[in-house]
């Protein structure tokens, strides 16, 4: 089977240091990383390959430095990768991103299954997966926490719902987005690392993909960021300390009642 995984490189804002003096983020030289959810998707794809044979390919859209992220997943055992890279793709919202990725899939041609991470942690929209499914006219199963069975033409997966879970079956190809619970991504193998060293993904430009230029990048994005701001840092409040636990507990109970959240 041929599984394609959508992988995004994201800024590692989470591991950014907080400047002790000013309390603001140190943003100089923000490192990048592979979107953590996409690693779960990669792991799941590698498991399908182990079971059924075939190939795992990764598809990404982004600037040239995404090659670093692609090398990282190659070192885990991914067979090949494609990078959709063009200045014209920049500034894409989820509609333009999913359209561009869909054109990438058209160029890839044959595939049995597409895995995505649920969200990318930078924008955290979780929209690219289902929008991609729509562009490709494929079924979509989101929030998947367990794959029960995959075989050519068929998938059975367990997805999270707001009040538990559901087991869903679908024909393949389909787009499936996964949550963290699904697996523990493997570490790079020695062989993978060797391969990654010299790996350079084939890149496809807007021209290679025969895209409709009105539908890519900033131009193809219906949503515009009109303003962005840093939220007021949340100040610490009152601290209760000292005294014995019973005393503290009753003081806290009183506070909670004062806050008036519960009866």
């Amino acid at each position: 089977m041929k599984i394609v995984v959508c992988v995004k490189q994201v800024p590692d804002t989470i591991n950014v240091r907080i400047n002790e003096k000013t309390g603001t983020m140190e943003r100089e030289g923000v490192p990048t990383m592979v979107n953590p959810y996409d690693l779960y998707a990669v792991e799941e794809a590698l498991r399908v390959k182990e079971q059924h044979g075939g190939e795992v390919m990764v598809l990404s859209m982004g600037p040239p430095q995404v090659q670093d992220a692609l090398r990282e997943v190659i070192s885990m055992g991914v067979d090949d990768a494609r990078l959709l890279c063009d200045r014209e793709f920049a500034g894409a919202d989820t509609l333009a991103t999913s359209y561009t990725l869909a054109r990438g899939f058209a160029r890839i041609g044959e595939y049995d299954l597409i895995y995505c991470g649920k969200p990318a942690i930078d924008g955290d929209t979780a929209q690219v997966g289902p929008e991609l499914a729509e562009h490709l006219n494929l079924p979509f199963i989101g929030f998947v926490r367990k794959i029960r069975e995959v075989r050519p033409g068929f998938i059975c997966a367990e997805r999270m719902t707001d009040d538990g879970g559901e087991v869903v079956e679908s024909s393949l190809p389909a787009v499936v987005s996964v949550v963290k619970e699904i697996n523990e991504p493997r570490l790079p193998s020695l062989r993978g690392k060797m391969k990654a060293k010299s790996f350079e993904a084939v890149t496809w430009s807007a021209a290679d993909l025969e895209v409709d230029r009105e539908r890519i990048g900033l131009k193809g994005s219906p949503t515009w960021v009109v303003r962005s701001f840093t939220p007021e840092p949340r100040g610490g409040g009152e601290i209760l300390a000292g005294g014995d636990s019973a005393e503290i507990a009753s003081k806290l109970a009183e506070k909670i009642r004062e806050l008036g959240v519960c009866s």
């Binding site: 989470i14 619970e181 994005s221 219906p222 009152e238 300390a241 507990a249 806050l259």
Partner: protein
């Protein structure tokens, strides 16, 4: 290029470098330079004290017939014949937006035998209810929900459609947006109508809540958002209200579905849904064991809330993953979040920092969670939690 630094104006103050979340601005000797990885978030434009950064965009093609779209719609999610909590919140907020636009509020509900729900939606503020009645729509199916919503939107042409940022909403709504070729803003926490243009301004957290972005969809209709549960006030039912109810039963291909739900798994222990809980009592590694989580369940019961957890507690196998709050778990914003034995690493904080009130119990006075806490208690959670439960239950009757 659509973003540039006006070099004569730049004072090399460094504000733009400081504020860029992805290090796409660099300071050279006498001017700031915007690098190739810029994603046009505009934070530097607003941050620049001398207006030396200019962002322009060429107009996108857009929907040709913007003016023909009218009315505010909300998708009223139902599960097993009951409205999800977010439905009443969307109606409350939808009413406000519709009044602001001087237009009608329509609620759309899917399922079977929807008369009761339709009446309820009218009492909650809908001027009109469109009830899509079909056996396939009784349960959630991505294809069918997207098919029916798209066909209704094409027929009635609403200007704005709001949907809960629930598992259902975040699964099928993007598909609707892609089919209508319009924008969709995820997980909004604030909505407003822009004066003059009448555009919907949708504000949401990004980069793990470190940045808030206000997003508009100026040239395409409908304008679509998923809205985070528990952010907006639920509409108060007014039994006297009147409204129009349209029941539609013929759906043809729109209800065709390629996926099949073969089994439903109810979460056994927990009854209160975290996304909709007003109060969440969460535990971390500091709780020490699965048994000690029983203390948190008792407290949650006393407060009428749900139990959550940090990743460390989930990874230790004390709590199922569905309870994990944070970057790789759920984002929650209850009225009150009680963190017990949780240090408050940033990956956890991003999942709960928008809670109205945060109570923290931790042994370590230096724990970062205290920087966020409305009320912080330095002490042993294993001792304090049961005492607190007792204090709350014994006095609440008096």
């Amino acid at each position: 290029m659509k973003i540039r630094v006006i070099s004569e104006e730049c004072t090399v103050c460094g504000e733009c470098v400081e504020v860029c979340p992805i290090a796409a601005v660099k300071m050279e000797d006498d001017v700031a330079v915007i690098l190739d990885n810029c994603n046009f978030c505009g934070l530097c434009v607003t941050a620049c004290p001398v207006e030396a950064i200019e962002m322009t965009r060429e107009d996108t093609a857009g929907s040709a017939d913007k003016e023909s779209h009218r009315g505010v719609w909300v998708f009223a999610e139902q599960r097993e014949g009951r409205l999800a909590g977010v439905a009443a919140e969307l109606l409350g907020e939808g009413r406000r937006i519709a009044d602001g636009r001087g237009t009608d509020l329509t609620a759309v509900v899917f399922g079977r035998g929807l008369e009761g729900l339709a009446m309820e939606l009218v009492t909650l503020g809908a001027d009109r209810v469109i009830a899509a009645d079909h056996p396939v729509l009784e349960r959630f199916h991505d294809d069918a929900y997207a098919g029916v919503m798209t066909s209704l939107a094409e027929e009635y042409r609403p200007e704005i459609i709001l949907c809960g940022a629930t598992v259902q909403g975040r699964s099928f709504f993007p598909r609707v947006a892609a089919r209508l070729r319009t924008g969709l803003t995820a997980d909004c926490t604030e909505l407003d109508i822009e004066e003059g243009t009448g555009n919907l301004l949708q504000t949401r957290p990004a980069y793990g809540g470190n940045i808030m972005a206000t997003i508009a969809c100026p040239n395409h209709r409908p304008q679509m958002s998923t809205v985070r549960p528990k952010v907006f006030k639920a509409a108060v039912p007014d039994p006297g209200r009147q409204g129009e109810i349209i029941v539609r039963t013929e759906w043809g291909d729109a209800v065709h579905t390629r996926t099949r739900v073969v089994e439903i798994m109810k979460e056994a222990v927990q009854t209160v849904n975290m996304a909709e809980a007003d109060i969440i009592v969460s535990g971390g590694r500091g709780m020490g064991s699965a048994e000690n989580f029983g203390l948190l369940e008792d407290l949650a019961r006393a407060l009428g809330g749900a139990v959550g957890a940090s990743r460390a507690a989930v990874d230790s196998g004390w709590v199922p993953y569905a309870r994990q709050v944070g970057q790789t778990g759920k984002t929650v914003c209850p009225k009150m979040y009680v963190a017990c034995g949780i240090s408050g690493q940033v990956q956890h904080l991003v999942g709960m920092q928008s809670s109205d009130m945060i109570i923290a119990i931790n042994r370590d006075p230096e724990a970062p969670i205290f920087k966020m806490a409305t009320v912080g208690v330095v002490g042993d959670a294993l001792e304090i939690v049961p005492l607190l439960t007792k204090a709350l239950t014994s006095n609440s009757s008096g």
